[in-house]
Symmetry: C2
């Protein structure tokens, strides 16, 4: 029992009490469901790996976006995390492809460029056909540094590098926007 | 006592219980402090009025921004609310002037253009010397409609009309950005 609790406790956002609650829940599951649960974990680990092209997670050679003939392969949107791909897919507006870095450069966190899927991105661009790379790393210090680093690598390859717009979020309130965001929104103003 | 409670209850965000708590607090104040409180309310009403130029609140003819010789008078930033002026002033980056509309056009809320300080804005621009008007109304449906409405009035006057950038707020996380904001951030991307 304590081994099971310990396993649950390792999950992010789960403390000792929650882990115990989850462990008791799993114990009282019917044998069949518990086995399905265990199997789902093992199978996910065995089958899910990086997409050969964009490094997103997939259980096939290529992820659904890279497999899709209708997607515009001349534009690559670079994100830190597979969850960012999901966020961008939810907009239903982005019809091109992604590249997942699996992190951001963080000297304090001990993450250097070689630990990210940057080489794979360079390979894609050197293979030709890419016109624009949109840097969609997070609007944080690390995300910004990663975007700058990759942008410097890409520019000599003759590809257009763009960055997501900073500004006020839609539906928000100016009064509650932070100073840096307001400054960026003023700098980035466009003619109506 | 119940009259005092009723008065407090009219304040935004104050319910019956809070109003009672505040009323009791005021009652137990020393006579002098209670009088100062009452006087502050009366005086504010008597002395504070709209700035003659920008319609911001002030106790003089002109507000501190309009009085300041160093501010760039050729650019006007149009906001809905005096609190938005405070938010923009906190950035310490904006060195031009403001115009406070005191609301946004809202057909459902019964607010039409004639209830806002739009005439005063047109007067300022017709007086000459203004090169750019930055529409900094809130990124909501009402704010957007107000920006569009004013922009249509201003364009025939030959003045440049711009809008604050929409996009991801600085320091945020792509994963938690809503779909509309992400779409705007993608549309508004700029070359690095």
């Amino acid at each position: 029992m304590s081994r099971l609790v310990e396993q649950f406790e390792r999950l992010p956002g789960i403390g000792r009490k929650s882990a115990q609650r989850l462990a008791y829940y799993v114990l009282q599951l019917p044998q069949k469901e518990a086995e399905e649960f265990a199997q789902a974990i093992t199978e996910a680990h065995a089958k899910i790996h990086y997409c050969k092209v964009c490094c997103n997670l997939t259980d096939q050679d290529l992820c659904p976006v890279c497999r899709n003939e209708a997607r515009d392969k001349t534009v690559i949107c670079v994100v830190e995390d597979p969850r960012d791909v999901m966020a961008l897919e939810r907009t239903h507006e982005f019809k091109a492809t992604y590249h997942v870095l699996h992190g951001a450069i963080s000297p304090l966190g001990g993450v250097g460029p070689e630990q990210l899927c940057i080489k794979e991105l360079l390979d894609r661009i050197q293979a030709g056909g890419v016109q624009e790379v949109i840097m969609a790393t997070n609007p944080t210090v690390e995300g910004e540094a990663t975007a700058m680093y990759i942008s410097r690598l890409l520019k000599p390859l003759g590809v257009k590098v763009t960055r997501l717009a900073y500004g006020i979020p839609v539906g928000g309130d100016l009064e509650y926007a932070d100073e840096v965001t307001l400054t960026r929104a003023l700098e980035g103003r466009s003619e109506m």
